[in-house]
């Protein structure tokens, strides 16, 4: 919890720190790091109910496209909200359809959903299709750090919701659902409501992250926005960092992006081999993820 607060504080003041000539590069990289960490947090939220989704690439993409299309008419912040809502609404549909699916079956169903969504966006007439969609920068480019602070905002929101949920009664309901739905029902947990609520919150956050991403890269294409790679990253980061926590996905996301960037700058060609090996070694020696380095015994909340 303290670590989370500290990280968010650093994120907030990063532009003001004396970073010298690396400042612009770090801020740029940090923006993308915040967004993928927010996505990872969103994924983890859903995972707490036992639903291991491969659809977060789709939620991200839907949010990105919805926000990009809405921005000229509504302005930046309302457009981002629209993005989140669209993603959330689609997750309601997906959540209802997959209520009775678990484990790999659930994962593949969400993957199928994601691929179908991508094709629909590809073929739809108003999305710019295969050629892509140019996007206006956040706030029309008026604030140079606008995009950066939007990313910080989304990350803080995701972390905040994650912390709140882990301290609420919902935490136990989600854990019970994850550990066994039948037993949870017997204990009086409204399983369906818990699952759907988690889905919608998770998708909403993912959609927000997608919208901010669109306004940063200024260009959307279905293959990039709905990338399967991103959905897998959203899954890999919480496992690497520590599942069912807030610190895990947050720290994990920042470290993974930093690691990748540093390796790419240092090693150049072949850096991904090292990256893959590091992932393998981490899970072999730190099965509980990075957070196990902080909590020696007992299960912390954050």
């Amino acid at each position: 919890m303290i670590l989370v607060g500290l990280l968010l504080l650093v994120a907030l003041v990063l532009p003001g720190l004396p970073l010298g000539e690396w400042r612009a590069f770090l801020l740029d990289t940090a923006q993308f790091a915040f967004l993928i960490s927010a996505l990872a947090l969103a994924w983890d939220l859903l995972a707490r109910t036992g639903q291991l989704s491969l659809a977060h690439g789709a939620f991200f993409g839907l949010g990105a496209y919805a926000a990009a299309l809405a921005a000229p008419a509504l302005g930046t912040l309302p457009a981002l909200l629209v993005g989140g809502v669209v993603a959330g609404a689609s997750s309601l549909f997906l959540g209802l359809a997959t209520l009775r699916l678990h484990g790999m079956y659930f994962a593949i169903a969400t993957l199928a959903f994601s691929e179908v969504m991508r094709t629909l966006v590809l073929k739809a007439p108003f999305t710019g299709g295969a050629i892509g969609l140019p996007v206006q920068p956040a706030f029309g480019g008026a604030f140079p750090l606008g995009g950066y602070y939007l990313a910080v905002g989304v990350l803080a929101l995701a972390a905040g919701i994650s912390l709140l949920l882990s301290r609420s009664r919902l935490h136990y309901a989600m854990a019970a659902t994850r550990q066994g739905e039948a037993v949870a029902r017997v204990l009086g947990v409204p399983v369906i409501r818990v699952k759907l609520l988690a889905f919608m919150i998770s998708a909403f956050l993912a959609g927000l992250a997608g919208g901010v991403y669109a306004m940063k890269t200024l260009f959307l294409s279905p293959y990039d926005a709905f990338g399967l790679g991103r959905a897998v990253e959203a899954l890999v980061i919480p496992i690497f960092g520590g599942l069912y926590t807030t610190t895990g996905p947050l720290l994990g996301g920042l470290i993974i992006v930093s690691l990748e960037t540093w390796l790419r700058l240092r090693i150049g060609e072949g850096y991904l081999v090292v990256y893959g090996v590091i992932l393998v070694l981490t899970i072999l020696f730190l099965p509980r993820g990075l957070v196990s380095l902080f909590h020696r015994k007992g299960a912390g909340h954050a």
């Binding site: 997959t98 199928a112 991904l272 893959g276």
Partner: protein
């Protein structure tokens, strides 16, 4: 542009032309199902028997494709003749992977195993990229464009060969699973991973065998892909994705259902490609839509 398609939607009794097109489409679908079934069966062994979601399965396919390509470039050996060697090599690779990486995480949560195989997949793919570059490489065999004509129908020789070999290999696999003691042990472990331990079957040996076989099947499929498509570090990805979908549709642990599921999906793809205007762009979406509907409908029906 529309008239070409309207010709297929004739009212009244189907003309010989439309019948021919339908038959040809069905044949195309069944031939394509061969490789799908091969890759999916391999994955089914890893997921259903060992219980590992093996993200690196596509990389085993890729290694098979490169073995075939390199042998071809080095010695001129026809890729189909290198099937045996590829199978052996990949079995070894699978066994080593199992002993070195998989066995330590068997008891770990499923998600950890996923991260492990994912990391392995990234590492393998990028090692291939380092060694060979991202180039697409093709082999050259005399029969690559050849075709067999029966009636008005044509069978491409490479897909026919691939299909025939898949039938033989899968036949041998299922014969092994049905009739030999070890095979039955494998099936027992697939159906209930706890019970066999109590019955005293050497579960470790079964796991090793299953994972090795899984990799070998992937490698064999890779060899076929090197002839029909190409060899490159990313050749395995698309087929692996579909393989995951196929085994889930068949049902995890249901090794037999893989072949019918592969056929159904390949047929759906073929029908969409042929009959839907602009079908080529929708094929993937239809594939996954079928999976989605099948999974969700089945889950609600079981209630």
């Amino acid at each position: 542009m529309l008239d070409g398609r309207l010709a297929y939607w004739r009212l009244g009794s189907p003309s010989p032309q439309t019948m021919e097109l339908l038959l040809q489409t069905l044949i195309n679908g069944i031939l394509a199902a061969g490789i799908y079934a091969l890759v999916a069966s391999g994955l089914a062994l890893a997921v259903g028997v060992v219980g590992i979601v093996n993200f690196a399965h596509g990389e085993f396919t890729m290694i098979g494709a490169f073995i075939a390509y390199l042998l071809f470039v080095g010695t001129g050996l026809d890729p189909f003749l290198s099937l045996g060697l590829a199978a052996l090599v990949l079995f070894g690779v699978g066994a080593i992977t199992y002993l070195g990486l998989i066995r330590p995480v068997l008891a770990a949560p499923e998600l950890n195993q996923m991260l492990l195989t994912f990391g392995l997949s990234v590492a393998l793919q990028n090692i291939a990229l380092l060694l060979f570059g991202a180039d697409t490489r093709v082999v050259s065999t005399s029969y690559q464009g050849a075709t067999l004509s029966l009636g008005g129908l044509s069978f491409g020789v490479p897909p026919l060969l691939a299909f025939g070999l898949s039938v033989v290999i899968l036949g041998a696999l299922y014969g092994f699973l049905d009739r030999t003691r070890l095979g039955l042990a494998v099936r027992a472990v697939a159906q209930n991973r706890l019970a066999p331990g109590l019955l005293g079957i050497e579960t470790q040996r079964v796991y090793l065998l299953a994972f090795g076989l899984s990799a070998a099947l992937a490698g064999v499929a890779g060899v076929m892909l090197s002839v029909m498509l190409y060899a490159s570090p990313t050749v395995g990805f698309a087929y692996t994705l579909k393989a995951f979908a196929i085994i889930v549709m068949a049902g995890l642990g249901n090794l037999r259902g893989v072949v019918p599921a592969a056929i159904i999906l390949a047929l759906a793809e073929a029908l969409v490609s042929t009959y839907l205007p602009g079908g080529g762009g929708w094929v993937e979406a239809v594939f996954f839509l079928v999976i989605f509907v099948a999974l969700t409908w089945r889950s609600w029906r079981a209630a």
